[in-house]
């Protein structure tokens, strides 16, 4: 794939001869979304030469928060890059506190970044202020879907009123026209338009989440940001909602960002994945490739830890965990790789120099890894790959 998402002038040039990337188990063509690029995308005139110009391009994004007691601000996102094309689903994964929600909020303009750009159709929406910002917000191009649907559905309002609220506030059409659009949105998410008259409490958890997605799509957005939309649902309802997102991106050419802890079902619908660790992107690329053969030790640990009904071959989590106790980690490793304190393969260079996505070791294409030892850490797991369960390993190490 061509580096459509990269500012070729700057970054790509600095990539030193990349080592041959491992052959992904899937086809070598990076997964492209199954839909043709949207004909209705109005503001991507240059899209003709590149079939899928980015809808959203986040670059060098930094976010920090003030400490309660003053002093140096807490850096929550650092140099984050993310690209979403129309009709593409990009997964964002990472542990609690890694900055996933903050990233989504910064994209939606709910948190002001202290650096970087959030380009929607090449326009930097992070810089909008005052009236321009309000107008952009009201336009509804970016919509949020939360884990708890009750955050977007008012328990006192009927489902129809909640779904149509945005349209009413923006003064779109007549009351009857709005009701028509609400019914259409409900149908679009697989609900009977008759649920418009019900209260959220009268719907099941899965139906409620559908209703909150209807509220998001009724405004004809370009980009949907879904923050753990299925974490509160059981497996069947989870898949129902993910399938719905898959269908919507195809039908409406929506770009969708899905934050999720459920790696396997996310891989069922997403094209690409961005792995965050402590506010930095440690790995990003086509999701099937990244999850099948992770190139960053943290991604590998994540994959090894995911529960699975098959006991298939994968690196045992215990083989990937650091053997050092993680006390006082921040002090010792400050300045180096964000994962060093938990990384089994950390060396001195990891402690001193933060690995960059552009450093030698970065594979070709759109699969990036920020690790000094991308190509060698895996060799070290082979040496210790005795068939021991994680439990026995843990007992040995604490004995």
């Amino acid at each position: 794939m061509t580096d459509t998402d990269l500012d070729a002038a700057g970054r790509a040039a600095s990539a030193a001869t990349p080592p041959t990337p491992p052959t992904p188990s899937t086809s070598p063509t990076p997964s492209t979304s199954p839909i043709p690029s949207t004909p209705s995308a109005p503001s991507t005139p240059s899209a003709s030469s590149t079939p899928s110009a980015p809808l959203l391009h986040v670059e060098e994004l930094g976010v920090s928060f003030a400490r309660p007691g003053g002093g140096r601000r807490i850096r929550v996102l650092d140099d984050v890059e993310l690209t979403v094309r129309p009709g593409e689903i990009v997964g964002v994964v990472g542990e609690t506190g890694s900055g996933k929600t903050t990233l989504a909020r910064a994209i939606a303009g709910l948190t002001t970044p202290d650096g970087g750009r959030v380009l929607l159709d090449d326009r930097d929406i992070a810089r909008l202020r005052g009236r321009a910002r309000r107008r952009f917000r009201r336009g509804g191009a970016i919509q949020f879907v939360f884990q708890d649907p009750l955050r977007s559905l008012d328990p006192e309002l009927t489902v129809g009123a909640s779904v149509g609220e945005g349209l009413a506030i923006a003064g779109v059409g007549s009351r009857a026209q709005r009701a028509e659009r609400v019914a259409g949105a409900l149908r679009q998410v697989g609900l009977d338009p008759a649920v418009a008259d019900r209260l959220p409490a009268q719907l099941s958890g899965g139906q409620r989440q559908r209703a909150s997605i209807a509220r998001a799509v009724v405004a004809d957005p370009r980009l949907l940001l879904c923050d753990e939309p299925v974490s509160a649902l059981d497996a069947s309802n989870r898949n129902h909602i993910l399938l719905l997102l898959d269908e919507l991106r195809r039908r409406l050419a929506l770009g969708i960002v899905v934050i999720s802890h459920d790696l396997s079902s996310l891989a069922g619908i997403a094209d690409r994945v961005v792995v965050l660790y402590r506010g930095r992107v440690v790995e990003a690329g086509p999701i099937a490739d990244v999850f099948t053969r992770p190139r960053h030790p943290y991604t590998a640990l994540l994959i090894a830890s995911a529960p699975d009904i098959h006991g298939r071959d994968r690196l045992a989590a215990a083989q990937l965990r650091s053997q050092r106790p993680d006390d006082d980690a921040t002090a010792r490793w400050a300045g180096g790789c964000v994962f060093a304190h938990r990384c089994r393969f950390a060396t001195d260079v990891c402690a001193q120099t933060p690995p960059s996505q552009d450093a030698a070791g970065r594979p070709a294409g759109d699969w990036t890894v920020a690790c000094h030892h991308t190509d060698t850490w895996r060799n070290q797991t082979a040496a210790t790959a005795t068939p021991t369960t994680a439990v026995t390993a843990r007992k040995e190490s604490s004995a």
Binding site: A235, A306, D308
Partner: protein, 348 residues
């Protein structure tokens, strides 16, 4: 799955014909559930949201919410009946012989007291340790839960700890009285996967070291698959299939179990058509003449809808609630399913 024990351990908990009503007795949400837990055994309960898993756990713990009650059946714990016993008797059992951890650890801790003090307090009250003794034992217990720098954690407040650390503290409190049975209701659901794997390993270690019996509840079959000796599949307030986890996963005999397997996290990283279970379960408390799964079952025939379906024991130690069990062919999780070891990511 741990090696099957050659001689079965003594039965610790026996639940027989348990019925639980909600809404002040008008609606029956648990409809005649029976199962046993042996010493040192881990039993998983799996089933979709609203199937009655938590009500069963809360019945065993004697902590049903107002409006909910055990309306029928018996619960026997090591010779003591747990149904209708006075509050004081409960208080003596809870913490020392039966303990529990739930999804949200923070809500079980006092936000304004350092976590170590809360643990030490348990040790003093439940085990009658001296103040000094309790402190030392608490620090040791925190260390045993895999918390580094336990002395520092001891002094920290709940808000200073991450979700995974809090769940370890709650586990420390739960096992501090050396219980024989631990009930873990969605104990790892709110944790991210790397921490979930660590907490599951911790639970597996506690089971091995202390001979602790565990009832583990999850709506994710994959969590159960990696952790439990036996599994109970709940559907609409009933057990529809029960048996050794490996056998149930390899060859489910109830259509609902097969459906759960299809929607479970399968460790596949390919783009695919995610499976779903069409339709909705019957309304809670709905009385149906026949099989409660019939409306969603591809194998349903007239005979399924006419009379209640009993839970029938099969020759291989399994029990299935399906009249067509011998006529239908179901597919399992594949050859790999049988060998998943306790804890995450066992390589074989």
């Amino acid at each position: 799955m741990p090696e099957p024990t050659t001689h079965p351990a003594e039965v610790l908990l026996t639940i027989d014909g348990l019925r639980v009503t909600i809404a002040g007795g008008r609606t029956e949400a648990v409809r005649g559930v029976s199962f046993e837990v042996r010493r040192g055994e881990t039993v998983g309960i799996v089933g979709e949201s609203g199937s009655g898993k938590t009500l069963v756990c809360r019945s065993v713990l004697g902590v049903l919410a107002p409006g909910c009650a055990v309306s029928d059946g018996t619960i026997d714990f090591a010779g003591t009946s747990l149904v209708g016993i006075p509050r004081r008797a409960w208080d003596q059992l809870r913490g020392t012989r039966i303990a529990a951890v739930f999804q949200d650890p923070a809500s079980y801790l006092n936000p304004s007291v350092p976590v170590g003090h809360q643990l030490a307090e348990q040790l003093r009250v439940k085990l009658g340790r001296s103040r000094r003794d309790a402190r030392d034992a608490a620090v040791r217990l925190l260390a045993a839960m895999g918390l580094h720098e336990p002395a520092r954690v001891y002094r920290q407040y709940p808000y200073e700890l991450s979700g995974g650390m809090l769940q370890r503290v709650v586990l420390a409190i739960a096992v501090s009285g050396d219980p024989q049975l631990l009930i873990a209701d969605e104990a790892t659901t709110a944790l991210d996967v790397t921490i979930q794997a660590e907490v599951l390993e911790l639970l597996a270690g506690l089971r091995a070291d202390r001979g602790l019996a565990v009832i583990a509840v999850s709506h994710d079959l994959a969590v159960i698959a990696e952790f439990c000796d036996r599994v109970l599949v709940f559907y609409a307030g009933e057990i529809v299939e029960a048996g050794p986890t490996a056998a149930v996963l390899r060859a489910p005999r109830h259509p609902y179990t097969e459906a759960l397997l299809r929607v479970a996290s399968v460790g596949s990283w390919e783009r695919r058509n995610l499976a779903v279970i069409d339709g909705q379960p019957p309304a809670v408390g709905a009385t149906l003449p026949g099989c409660r799964f019939a409306d969603r079952c591809a194998f349903a025939t007239e005979q399924c809808r006419t009379r209640p379906i009993p839970l029938t024991e099969l020759a291989d130690g399994r029990a299935v609630r399906c009249v067509r069990v011998d006529e239908i062919a179901l597919s399992g999780a594949g050859a790999g399913a049988a060998g998943a070891g306790a804890g995450a990511g066992a390589s074989r």
